[in-house]
Symmetry: C2
Subunit: 300 residues, 2 copies
């Protein structure tokens, strides 16, 4: 099967809106390569380039791409096959007014450090860091409200979730005809939490296969399948609320799959897998609830 290529030159969004014009339309089952800009739009190329000087908008997501036949209530499946770093170096920055320790006297912002790729690793101030690419922003057209690409919500968006990586499969609720998915904001490496506000931001080429899932399950929020777990993903104003939403979603799947009451599924969720932090720095924060596959044979 041939592989479609969609580049940021063809189209990129700074807002996930209910109505968007697709830059490409593909049938379910299509293999696609998506080219993404770095989240700072190529404007930070040395340590003297600071976030204050970036002229335009940030966090472009390549797309949107329509999937033929996708309708509200469907589930979109994105199998992430490979994420290639498409430039010789990434960059990590601090931003005044942003980040977990924003305002702490010992933290300087804005600052930039470049992270060159050397011998298949990143170099941060001379320290080798393994390249483990993550798609920071990935999502579909939302139900009613529009969200800038800096905000994560039930449509996905700026989830900054380390499991959005090669070998994993992401699932999104379809809210609009064609689903209209977009992605960008990739990192060559990122910690759970994304504490300083960025990972090592880089341009990438992402190989994926997009498909629709036939299911009776009503998916409310994104879900990701890793080698050994299913993880519900929820974003909210506080980490506490995001934990509640992710746990509620996990319990619903656990109860259905194991023929348990909600209370028993809640108890089981308190014994296996658990809550994980995606990011604590974006306008809404993101948490996931991992459930080992042993307890969820077929959640969708």
């Amino acid at each position: 099967m041939s592989r479609e290529t969609v580049s940021h030159e063809q189209g990129a969004i700074y807002e996930f809106a209910p109505e968007m014009d697709p830059v490409e339309t593909v049938p379910p089952g299509t293999a696609v390569t998506i080219e993404t800009r770095d989240s700072l739009d190529g404007a930070v190329q040395s340590e003297s380039d600071l976030i204050d000087q970036v002229p335009g908008e940030v966090n472009a997501a390549t797309g949107p791409i329509a999937v033929e036949g996708a309708m509200p209530g469907d589930v979109l499946r994105i199998e992430i096959e490979e994420i290639r770093i498409a430039e010789p170096e990434g960059r990590v920055i601090t931003i005044d007014g942003f980040g977990l320790l924003d305002g702490y006297p010992q933290i300087e912002a804005p600052e930039t450090r470049m992270t060159p790729v050397e011998d298949g690793q990143l170099s941060f101030e001379g320290i080798d860091v393994p390249i483990e690419p993550v798609i920071g922003t990935i999502g579909v057209a939302p139900a009613e409200e529009s969200f800038t690409t800096l905000v994560p919500h039930d449509h996905g968006g700026n989830l900054d979730t380390t499991d959005m990586s090669a070998g994993n499969t992401a699932y999104f609720p379809v809210f609009q005809d064609g689903a209209l998915f977009s992605m960008g904001d990739c990192k060559a490496a990122m910690a759970d939490g994304e504490m300083c506000g960025t990972g090592a931001e880089v341009a990438t080429e992402i190989d994926l296969t997009v498909d629709l899932v036939e299911t009776d399950v009503e998916l409310a929020r994104p879900l990701v399948e890793t080698a050994d777990a299913w993880k519900t993903i929820a974003s909210a104003e506080t980490i506490e609320t995001a934990c509640e939403l992710a746990n509620e979603d996990a319990i619903r799947l656990l109860a259905a799959d194991n023929d348990l009451s909600a209370t028993e599924a809640y108890m089981l969720s308190s014994l296996v897998g658990g809550l994980e932090i995606s990011q604590v720095v974006d306008p809404l924060v993101t948490v996931r609830n991992a459930v080992p596959k042993k307890y969820l044979s077929a959640p969708l």
Copy 2:
């Protein structure tokens, strides 16, 4: 070397206080076996036994044990060697007014489910769950304030952290002469988050070796060493604040060990390892910041 045994019969506390009488005093380097009651004090032995009917206090911690020569400013090292389940079944419960989804209409509380040990696994409603024992409450005498054993803080206490498990080593600041450590509230299995408010609560026998570390590092809060990471541990009113404290502690260690500025250490913390949830249900919540050992050769 002989091994000391300290049982809950000899002494157990329901409050970590600055001044406590030790039930045993041991020299640094001593191998100790600690016997712990289950957190519900043996009062829940069937599904008709509910938390409301537990007559006495809950969350006993066996101890305190004094370490000869330990002085404020020292660091106590507890190498956790083995945790054996000491009864034929555990129990998981819901509690009215407690737990992540407390008050949600689909969750019933109080409820109890027993988790018998069968063929080396737990059984929860017929579902096999691997036994991976965790010490829920572990800590030392605090600096000034007293904390019930239900509360985690800088002295440790009810940390409910899955890394407090066999093979790992926990470090605590010493605030009082003799350190005065205690532990209990073990679980045969527990998810990160402890969402319903408990894991599978069980009586255990814990083999450990206690020692003092010679270091110039001023440890403010607990730290745990796993096979591949050092993890700072912080408890606070909100998960956000706990994340900040755990990240601050991680940055301090990263900066010292790698000769980085605080800002650069903050950036590096945003690239590798990351924030992890311990528990989101106790009176204060607990978070850890994992730093792979590759980046922290000798934090203490």
